[in-house]
């Protein structure tokens, strides 16, 4: 099954500030993995290390390994753009291309690959991706309207469709619902639930209920003090993390004693 990721001793920093330290986890294929933790614990940085987005920030450094289906994505000869095509990403703030239509937004990634694709083929991928993202029925009559004209929740599902269209193995979601209302959040969570049949999903969230609702495994990250790098405190099946965590810190966070 494609879409299996293992990190070993993964550390990342911005200039002199270390953001995460020594994270070793195994993310199973076709499952939803949630990363939770208080602000500044490095969970977004961890996510951005999984598809080489972290290195785009000036001064970023990474050590350790991220092995995706047997290949170290930081290994020699690996092409970052190739990695990002196979490991897509959805961001905290919906960021459709404002000047492109709904259809152009979804097909943006496949048009990049440069290969000649027939119009019918593109249209088919667009429809398929929009259906997967549960957006098709709402936009099928405005495929040629600007993508920026949709509501916030629709924009975020458009971004999910855009990420799906390039047929990645894995989709990383960085707090995809934090800018959305409860109804839109619900739709995205339903989408995530359906997507795991075909994709591996890693979702960073602030919202513990969300993690409990959507994920199969959960990782809890924590930076012990301000300025300390974030570490993976505990990682395991979601049920276990939320009902009987091994670590005191996890329990404190889950029960709302801090964070």
């Amino acid at each position: 099954m494609a879409g299996h990721v293992t990190t070993s001793s993964l550390s990342a920093s911005f200039g002199d500030i270390q953001a995460i330290d020594d994270v070793t986890v195994e993310i199973p294929a076709n499952k939803v993995t949630a990363i939770i933790g208080p602000s500044g614990c490095g969970k977004s940085t961890f996510l951005r290390c999984l598809n080489r987005m972290h290195e785009l920030v000036p001064g970023a450094k990474i050590s350790g390994e991220v092995v995706w289906d047997g290949k170290n994505i930081y290994g020699p000869g690996m092409d970052a753009t190739e990695v990002r095509r196979g490991i897509g990403m959805v961001f905290q703030k919906p960021n459709p291309f404002p000047l492109m239509s709904v259809e152009e937004n979804v097909s943006a990634g496949i048009r990049l690959t440069g290969g000649r694709m027939s119009k019918a083929m593109v249209a088919e991928i667009v429809e398929h991706s929009l259906r997967l993202a549960a957006l098709w029925d709402e936009v099928k009559n405005k495929l040629h309207k600007p993508g920026g004209g949709l509501s916030g929740g629709q924009q975020q599902r458009l971004c999910i469709a855009r990420a799906l269209a390039v047929q990645p193995d894995i989709i990383l979601m960085d707090e995809p619902c934090s800018a959305l209302d409860p109804a839109s959040t619900q739709k995205i969570e339903d989408t995530i639930d359906k997507l795991k049949q075909n994709f591996t999903i890693v979702i960073v969230t602030h919202n513990m209920q969300q993690a409990a609702r959507v994920s199969d495994s959960t990782g809890f990250m924590l930076a012990r003090e301000m300025g300390d790098p974030g570490r993976m405190i505990e990682y395991g099946p979601t049920n276990k993390i939320f009902t009987m965590p091994d670590r005191k810190e996890t329990e404190n966070y889950i029960t709302g004693r801090f964070g």
Partner: protein
């Protein structure tokens, strides 16, 4: 004024300390809406601002009126034929503007042709790719190009650029591409091409500085959207940066074009000052700004002066028309962007 009476009655009634503080606060906050000196200041300020704004329109109107009035003798003598005639004969009092319009427009367009790709390259590099330690110094150097007086460009053009073009570049192009009429014919160094090259160098800072600014303003999440789809650095620029920066880039190009159309000194020194329309871009030519600058001091005859002034009017119209066109272009591309951003 009943509300004032009510206020003063309230002040007299016994009240607790906190209440009086609240009342005082309210009084001082509401002072602004009571009629008084504040009103007079406002209307004076409004009138002054209106006068300043109206002044600029009046000035513009007066300028156009004066130009038209003084161009009248030429308009009466030559009519519409003025812009189509290629004759420029001060001795026989026969004047036509076409060679000058041609020289002005072609030299500016050639300059754009050379400057725009270069400037966009500079802007893309400075805003997207340059390491941060290089950004400021390099940006400063480019902007300094704008601070060099045009007469200095002219001198450099005459003593360095024109000989170089005349001995090396032009014979080379002529030798290899001489089959194409625009590159055929004798080369002198000084001429339409040399003027265009200097104009290009002069407008590069304008175009690149403004384009760089608009490209820098494209938000990081737009670039990340492209990068996360597997876009290469160039694809990211093409997909996420250039479309959003386009209105600003068009504005920058138009500002550059405006500068090129009106540039006088450097062009006068390099264009060759010969009122002829030649097929070859290496041949000497003339521009509107140059002919006005070089001939108006020696004008002895009324119709000659009127012809020069009519040319000034034509230059004004060309510049205004281009500016309007650019504005329309920016509005058209810009409105699509704002419409798309209307809903968050």
């Amino acid at each position: 004024m009943p509300h004032l009476a009510r206020l003063s009655k309230a002040r007299r009634s016994p009240i607790t300390k906190t209440k009086s503080i609240t009342a005082n606060l309210r009084r001082s906050l509401h002072r602004g809406i009571r009629p008084g000196r504040g009103r007079l200041g406002d209307s004076l300020f409004a009138a002054a601002a209106f006068l300043a704004a109206a002044g600029i329109i009046a000035l513009m109107a007066l300028m156009v009126y004066k130009l038209m009035q003084q161009a009248m003798p030429a308009v009466e003598a030559f009519g519409a034929g003025f812009v189509t005639s290629t004759e420029w004969d001060p001795v026989n009092n026969n004047f036509g503007a076409l060679p000058f319009i041609y020289g002005t427009v072609i030299s500016s367009l050639l300059a754009l042709l050379m400057a725009v790709p270069l400037s966009l390259g500079i802007a893309i590099y400075l805003s997207q790719f340059a390491p941060s330690w290089l950004r400021s110094p390099l940006g400063l150097v480019v902007e300094l190009l704008a601070a060099i007086p045009s007469v200095v460009y002219g001198l450099w053009g005459i003593f360095v650029l024109a000989p170089f073009l005349g001995k090396t570049v032009e014979p080379f192009i002529s030798g290899h591409l001489g089959g194409i009429p625009v590159f055929r014919g004798p080369v002198y160094g000084v001429g339409l091409f040399a003027a265009s090259v200097v104009l290009a160098i002069m407008i590069i800072p304008t175009i690149s500085a403004i384009s760089r600014e608009t490209m820098r303003n494209v938000s990081r999440d737009q670039k990340e959207a492209a990068q996360a789809l597997g876009a290469t650095p160039w694809e990211t620029v093409k997909m996420a940066v250039l479309p959003l920066a386009r209105p600003g880039i068009i504005g920058a190009v138009i500002l550059g074009l405006g500068r090129a159309l009106g540039e006088t000194m450097a062009v006068t020194m390099l264009i060759g000052n010969s009122p002829k329309i030649s097929a070859s871009i290496f041949a000497p030519a003339y521009s509107i700004a140059s002919v006005i600058a070089s001939e108006f001091a020696e004008v002895t005859e009324g119709r000659h002066m009127a012809a020069l002034i009519e040319m000034a009017l034509i230059l004004l119209v060309i510049t205004l028309a281009l500016n309007l066109l650019a504005r329309l272009l920016v509005q058209k591309t810009g409105s699509r962007a704002t419409k798309a951003k209307a809903r968050p």
